[in-house]
């Protein structure tokens, strides 16, 4: 397996043991936004994640791929501690954002979730108006000033590429929008509180191809301003949209690296088998 190493002077590392969670290449120049060290997660006595170590760079899109049940969604939800609501859930190890471990004893989880937004697989707009949906995060954050709310709502809807379609019906029910529009509304809602990181759990899996393409283009534009981590079961989507890809399997991180490497020339045979579709 050779690569054309014209533009980058990187060297290909030796193959590490399968299942070991390790980087294969030195990082590109981007700083690391999220630092995961030996992170394990348990549902009661069942271990869902095994000592994951991973760096997620700032202002890039990192995709998490792997077969069903491999732990990628569990890992994603651990970043903003959404797994806390599950009874008997336990975490070990650390996930550090900008130097602070989110699993520290004194962590303000509510504040964490304002910095780390989330978009879910099935779009979940509140049964309120479009405006109220986007303004929700702001209002519970204490912002009441009408002008400030309007401005932020407009800015968020523009960022989510939805403003043009809804600007004259902001007070209509959010549930009247199409599936793709609802998902972009949820993205706008998450962006409204100005997070630094946006987590997306299979954001386009319930959408038709055109809506999916719009979401993918949106993600590409958003990475200028936000760090994005996206879980997807659609490998081609991961290839199209992400800068780095991490392959999970049975709760372990098998391989992580630049997306083009993972899809052109992965180090691990397991990764190659998965990416070529040789096993599901």
């Amino acid at each position: 397996m050779t690569t054309f190493e014209i533009s980058t002077g990187r060297s290909v590392a030796t193959t590490p043991a399968i299942g070991a969670a390790r980087e294969g290449e030195p990082l590109p120049q981007a700083a690391s936004k999220i630092s995961v060290r030996d992170f394990s997660f348990f549902y009661g006595s069942a271990q869902a994640l095994h000592a994951i170590s991973l760096e997620i760079p700032d202002r890039q899109v990192t995709a998490l791929i792997g077969p069903s049940g491999c732990g990628k969604s569990t890992f994603l939800r651990s970043i903003n501690r959404m797994n806390d609501i599950i009874p008997e859930a336990r975490a070990e190890g650390s996930i550090t954002i900008d130097g602070t471990d989110v699993y520290d004893r004194g962590t303000d989880v509510v504040g964490l979730r304002r910095r780390v937004g989330m978009v879910f697989q099935k779009s979940n707009p509140f049964p309120k108006s479009i405006f109220e949906n986007v303004a929700y995060g702001l209002k519970i954050g204490g912002i009441r000033n009408k002008r400030q709310l309007s401005e932020t709502v407009e800015k968020s809807l523009r960022r989510a590429a939805l403003w043009d379609e809804v600007q004259d019906r902001l007070h209509d029910s959010a549930l009247a929008l199409s599936g793709g529009q609802q998902q972009r509304l949820c993205i706008a809602r998450a962006l409204a509180v100005d997070p630094e990181i946006v987590l997306m759990d299979e954001p386009a899996s319930a959408l038709d191809p055109i809506a999916t393409a719009k979401i993918e283009e949106l993600i590409y534009e958003l990475k200028d301003n936000y760090t994005i981590v996206i879980v997807t079961h659609n490998m081609q989507q991961a290839a199209r949209v992400s800068d780095r890809t991490a392959f999970f399997m049975l709760g372990k991180l098998v391989e992580v690296g630049e997306t083009k490497t993972i899809f052109m020339n992965p180090r691990e045979k397991m990764t190659e088998d998965y990416v070529t579709g040789r096993f599901g």
Partner: protein, 282 residues
């Protein structure tokens, strides 16, 4: 006869039996409604709504105070039952598996089955005896206690039915659990909860026994909460067991009015559900 023909015949017979069962079930309802309408509709006039009962023996008069009383009692009962029932229901939905919740749920179910006259006696000992006086409040308390289990169960069910995605969405935006319940889950469940309240009201609007020794009765116009107050059901009872024909006539009118009220409440509840559901899922 061939297999498919036999199956079709059996199917037809079964359909016919089902239809027959429906008809039989409807018969009492139709008879009651019909009889009440026949007996009471004619007597329902303007005087009935606006006038007070006349002294014994005189013809005419109305049930204005009783109608007003029923409304007041229902208001007091709702004021009591809705907050308690809703908060209780929310707690049961939020913490469904604790010991405490199982106990509360069981208690609500038992309370649901307690005969209304027993509830009346309890309200009597709680509210009437200490002050040695019948009052509207006592009647409201009795009816409220009857309403609580219905509101609790309905609220719990409705909150459970709210898709978990909404809750997650709220939490992910940095809402605390309480905030998410109050600002997102409760509003989403509100249509159903209101319907549950309407259903509970329809149930207690027709109660007589618990009112007999709590709000008692009052032939005169009363707005005081600490005095006995008239109610439609008790008034009907009083008139019905009296020896006077005119009072019998008015009792029928009252019964007709009561049935109409409950019927209307049920229909409104139905329509409200459908309309609010459409708002939530266009």
């Amino acid at each position: 006869m061939s297999n498919s023909v036999r199956r079709r015949v059996v199917s037809r017979i079964a359909e016919a039996l089902c239809a027959l069962a429906v008809v039989i079930a409807l018969v009492p309802l139709v008879l009651i409604l019909g009889y009440v309408i026949k007996q009471g509709a004619g007597s329902l006039n303007w005087a009935f709504f606006t006038q007070m009962p006349k002294p014994v023996g005189e013809i005419g008069g109305g049930m204005a105070n009783a109608i007003f009383g029923t409304v007041v009692l229902i208001a007091i009962a709702s004021f009591l039952a809705v907050p308690i029932g809703c908060i209780c229901g929310i707690h049961l939905a939020e913490y469904p598996h604790t010991r405490f919740s199982s106990v509360v749920r069981f208690a609500a179910d038992v309370l649901n089955g307690v005969p209304s006259i027993v509830i009346g006696i309890v309200a009597y000992s709680l509210v009437v005896l200490p002050v040695k006086r019948f009052s509207a409040i006592a009647g409201g308390v009795a009816l409220g206690m009857l309403m609580i289990p219905i509101v609790v169960r309905t609220t719990e069910e409705l909150i459970r039915l709210v898709p978990s995605g909404l809750r997650e969405g709220a939490l992910a935006l940095g809402a605390t659990r309480t905030r998410s319940v109050i600002t997102v889950i409760l509003p989403a469940a509100l249509p159903g909860i209101l319907t549950g309240v309407l259903v509970a009201i329809a149930r207690v609007a027709g109660e007589t026994a618990p009112l007999l020794f709590t709000s008692f009765n009052n032939r005169f116009w009363s707005t005081s909460l600490v005095q006995p107050i008239g109610s439609l059901t008790v008034q009907i009872f009083t008139y019905a067991i009296s020896p006077y024909d005119d009072w019998h006539r008015q009792a029928w009118a009252g019964a007709f009015l009561l049935v109409m009220m409950i019927l209307t409440l049920s229909i409104v509840a139905r329509l409200a559900v459908r309309r609010l559901e459409r708002m939530n899922r266009p």
